[in-house]
Each structure stands twice: as structure tokens, then as C-alpha cells.
Amino acid sequence: MFFALTDEQRALAETVRDVLADRFDLTAVRAVFEDTGGDGHPRELWRTIGDQGWLSVCVPVDQGGLGLGLVDAQVIARAFGAGVLPGPWASTVLAGEAVRRFGSSAQATAVLGPLGGGELVATVALRGPGGGLGRPGIAVRATSDGRLYGMASGVEYAAVADLLVVAALEAAPETAPGADADATGGTAVVPVDGVGLYLVDPCAVGVRVAPQSGFDGTTRLAAVTLEGVLGRRLPGSDDAALADLLRRGAVLAAADLVGLAREALRRTVAYDSARVQFGRPVGSFQALAHHLADLHVAVTMAEHAVLFAAHAVDSTPADIPANVTPADTPADATELADPVDVEPVDVDRVDAVLAVAIAKSKASDTARDVTAAMIQYHGGIGYTWEHDTHFFYKRAKRLAAAYGDSGDHLAEIARTAVGPMS
């Protein structure tokens, strides 16, 4: 029983932090943040990231990677969150995970080596405008010969990407109207049979990438319009693959959020320990101190939850179902002889679907709370553009909604713990 980072992982965390402090501190972040016309991709930093091997952490050893897991990846994501770091690291790692897990060996060979070495910027395009999580949110449709039509929105760093992983709805080979209408979530115009992930070259004819403006200057987003471009299907991809990819995305986002939240809390504590009002350090006022204490508890729990979720994903086979329903929901609940008689759970049980939903909802809420408190407890200065608080606040706000916001994940948790809605 050992629930903690290894010494190697701890050393990795320190290395990332040291390198960032040395090469890309908040002044550098500000330069990217304020360069609203720029692509938000700091290329020199990118080379460093590639050289350090931080892109190859999940790439298999036989593809030149480190062959590690999501627990290791989240160590890096957490440090990047603490540094509110711009750049397409997370999107590239996630695209790599799609290829590693669901691609052919030829696809893996073609993509993972360059990707791990930093020669390739990649990203994932998994939902349409206004779309939610998973199949109902997809607004791209694939023809049976692999041509893609539709749109993806909020795609991280699509404008600088060399490779897109696009989720697309796939029509049934023979269309039986209404047969599958229930599963489409009501958004598809004709019945769809499933979901596929496709590799797309963003420079190909039939792909348009348009930057989308937003408030989080630490990350650049774009809309991707697909007009018949040929995608290369990842042969292992299906609904479960999409769910798996979204879970990994959620863990990386949650890790970024807890890293960010921990750093925001640290900075707030430091500022308020020094700032004097009414002749005393502001941090000695009990109402503020107790609120920061509660936030420390929340951040600590979110850290545990992210670590557990990463471990849960690492230690679970690919084909776990997207929805786990309790085994023994009584058919007629009112006939229940003994409501107290419930099956106890084991403390060492691991359920990746539940663990990821818990980690992401907890990390999202916590990061939003901490960064809001960061502004409040910096007083007026924390509300200025010149102070760094807003990098944390804005990134937290955006990431809290990425890969499922708190509401999405709470609904998922309810499906697992309480049972299906209908």
C-alpha cells in the first residue's frame, strides 16, 4: 500500500518547476498573454519541453519514449498549472495517447516518435460549438470512406498544430431509421452507429482553422471546420475510446487546476502574511485565515483525488464501460425489506470512471474558489491587469469547464452512485 509519488516522480516535479522558474516565469507568461495577435505558442520553451522528454512521458519505450503513465504525466501538468504555462503540451500529449491506444502500429510509428521529441504539435478536436461531453457534443460526421464534415470548437492550439485528432459520428452502414435514436442524444440528424477518432492534417484542403477569442490568454483556442477532408481513422477507436480519451483529458486538466490552485493559495498566503492593514498583517485576521485554511483542505483533497484518478486510469484496462451501474438496484424499491442492508465497499477499490469524475469536479470547484479568493484577498491590486492574479483566475475558469465541468461530472457520479436517471 503506497499512495504517493515515487522519488523519481517527485524529482521530475522539481525539475519541471526549476526549469520553468529559470526559462519561463510569469514575465514570460505575461508576454504571451498580452500578445493577443500571436499564436500563443512559445517555440523556444517548446524545444526545452521536447528536449526534457516531457512530451514523451506516455510514449512507449519502443517508440523512443519514457513509457510512463498518467501519474507521471499529471506531475508535469501540475507544475505547468502552477506556472500557468502557455503552449500545446497537454493537447499534444492527449493526441499522442489517442494514437498510442487506438492507432495502428504504423500510425503509432509515424506519430509517436516525432511527437515525443517535440517535432510535432498535435491537438484534439472532440466537440462542436456549444456541445457537451462525449457523443452528443460532436458536430463532425464521417462518411464511410473517411471524409469528414462539420465543425469543432474550442480546439486548443489548432492554429499551430501539425496534427489533429478529430472525433466524428459515423453513420450506420445500413441506415435503420430510429433504431439508435436514443443513443444519439437527440443531436444527430440521422441515426449514427458509433464514434471514430480520425487523424487530420490541418493544412490539408477542406480544413479551415480560425482563432477564437477568449479571456484566457494562457491558452489559444480555435474553431476547426471540416469540409470533406480525408481523415485517417484510428482503427481501435469507438465510443469507449472517446470516453477513455476524455477521461485522460479530464485528469490532465484536473492536474493543471490543482497545481494552479496550490500555487494561487501559496501566493495569497505569502501576500497576506506581509500586507498590513489596521496595523496588522492581513493574514492574521481570523475570517481570512480560516477561509484560507478551508481552501488548503480543499486543495489537499483535490491533490489526492487527481493522484488517485491518474492511478485509477493507469491501472484499469481500456474497455471499462462508460457508465457503471450499481449491480443490485432493487426492481421495486418500495418493497425493500431493509434499507440499512447495503453492501459495504472496500477501501482499496478502484473505479476509474468514478475517480476521474470526482477528481475533475473537485479540482474545478477548488481552483475556481481559490483563484476567486486570491483576487479578493489581494485587495485592489489583485484586480489589476498588472498583477499576475488574473492569469490564475482566468485559466482556472476556462479549465474548470474543459473536459466536463463540475455539473457534467456530478451527473456522472450520480449515475454511478445513485443509479441511472431513467
Partner: protein
Amino acid sequence: MDLTYPPEVADFRRELRAWLAAELPAAWAAPGFWTTLGEDESFDLRRGWERRKALAGFGGIDWPTEYGGRGGSPTMAALADAELARARAPRSVNPLGLTFLAPTVMAVGTPEQKTGILAPMLRNDVIWCQGFSEPESGSDLGSVRTRGERDGDDFLVHGQKVWTTSARHADRMFALVRTDPAASRHRGLSLLLIDLRSPGVEVRPIRQLSGISEFGEVFFTDVRVPAADCVGGLGNGWATAMLLLSFERGASAMGQYTDFRRAYDQIVEVARALGRDRDPSVRQSLARRLVELECLRYHALHVLTEVERGRDLGFASSVTKLQWSQAYQGLFDTFDEVLGADVGLDHPLGEFGESGGLDLTALRRESFWTRSVTIWGGSSQIQRSIVAERVLGLPNSRLA
């Protein structure tokens, strides 16, 4: 209990509505109109509008006629706030003067001050800003360091004010200045009226996290201020400042409610546009926010009733501030929840880049603005201490 208005108030409302319908340019109500303007352009339009409003008899609703006001009741003034918000008239460019300085001058100003300050303020001939906060004293006014040295009939003012709303556009500032360096903390302060066009004044804008610069820093280097431009008596600045702040009575809560409720209804429309109005968790969150906004409305009715009866609300205005600032800020937490995955985008339904039909720029700017409302004007922490000690009568929790 009777929530209907007396005939003269109802008549006034009809009159004001008619005037607004005729005079307020329709283009100003278009979505995003104000966000597309430059700050100076926006200021000029608003300054002129408010002057026309005053000339039409809709300024200083509850001011005595002798000062150029309409001589109306607090209810009429509150209703006018609400009607202006309802019609989407731009907010005042002179709020600090109108809310704080004007009633203070009416109460304790010299006859010369009353004549020289009030009518010009109503016509926006002079825009006022407030100079209370300093870099080392956010909520702690007793620690003001800007000092005024006596020099004949004048003071020479040295120091720095910060978080000054509208600093860039203001003509004059009412400032808390330490005129007696020997006296400690709350003693030795005076409320001086400083001409910001004087030599030695430097104004630097402060950019907010929303990207806008509504605040500024003001630096004073040997700025000459006539001793006659002191309101409320030399060395009596603390008492005058407390009197001045007491005019933040919460009667404005009715205009705020109307403003916030419009933002609420806009957010509901966004929820519909994004199809999020059927999400049970979004619905519950929106319902919770409406509870707090409607409570603010009821509270505004309560405050107005008290003001009409001539009751001094005193420290209970901290209750008003806590309620409105938290209801307003919380509403925009729900805005994020409504947006879901699209929270980061200015145009979430844009088919291609910026061209989408749903422009969230203005609501997003308002969303960022709400982060400041629990900080300025006495932070929520200060307000809670006031409620605890002065309203509930708990033992001192601020200094202890």
C-alpha cells in the same frame, strides 16, 4: 403595506418614461454598443447625455430646488434610477459626486460651496472623483498618508491616491488628506477639494483584469489647494468622511436591482440560446440567483420606506452592500455554469471565428467587474465586521 405609488410618483414615472423613449438614442440599447466605443468617446457621450437629462429636469430628483434639483421624494429618485436602468440609459459619469459629495455639501458645506459645487455637478460641468484609498491603506482609512502642509491661505498637498474611479476623466477630487502631521490616525485629517488640472497633479490609469481602465492612480507633488476648499471643517476630515460614506444609503439598491435583473434575464436568454435552460443543475443555480436578486429588490423597497420615513439607516447599509455585491458576483458564477464548456469563448456559437450570433463580450466584461465589487467601497470583510459589531452588537472582532 402598499406597494403602489402615489399619483404624483406614477405621473413622474410616466413622464420620465416618455422622455426616455423620445430622447434616448435607440442605437445605445443595441447589444455591445458601449463595448465597441473607445473610453473617451464613451465618456463624452455619457457626459452630454446626463447634462441633457439634468436640463430636462430629470437630474437631482430628490435635491432641493434651490440647488437646481427637482425637489422630489426619495421614492421618486429611486424609481428614476430604476427607470434609467430599465431603459438602458448609460450609467452616470459623476456617481461619486452625486452620491457622496453632494449630500455632504448640502449638510455641512459653506454657502459658497453649495453654490459653487452643486448645480455645476448636476450639469456635469465638473466631474468628481474620490480620493480616499492609498497604496498602503485599502480599507483602513485611518492610515492615510497624503499630507497637506499649510502655506498661507493654501495647503500644499503631497502624496498618492489609488483605486480612483474615473480619475482620467475627473475634473476635481474630494480627498482625505492629513493636514495635521502631529495628530495620530483618525485625528488630523481634512476633506479637501482638489482641482486635478492644477500643476503637480499626475494621473495614471490602472488597467483592470477585464482589460478596461476604470480606475487610476493620482500623484500629488506640491499641489496648491485653497484652505477654503475644505468641506466640514479643518481637522474634522474623519467625521466628514464618515458622514459622506453614510450617504451610500442603499436607496440606490433599486437601480442596482434593475441593472442586475437585466443581466440575469440576459443570462437566461444565453442559457436558452445554448440549450442549457433544460439542464436541471443550471436551472437550480439560476433559481438560487433569482432568490438573492429578488431579496435585493424587497430590501430596496424596505430601505426606501425607511428613508421616506426619515430614518437613518446607519450601519445597516453594510447589509445592503453585502447583499447586492454577493448577489451580483454570484450571478456571474452561474453565468459560467450556463456557458459550460464554452466558458472560455467570446462567441461560443460562432460558426467561424468571431462571426457568431452570440456575443458575450459585454456580459464577460461585467462578469470580471463583479470580482471588484466585494473589494471596493469597504470590502466584504469590513462590511461583515461592521454588521457584527455595530448591528449585532458583538464584541470588537476587527482589531481584536
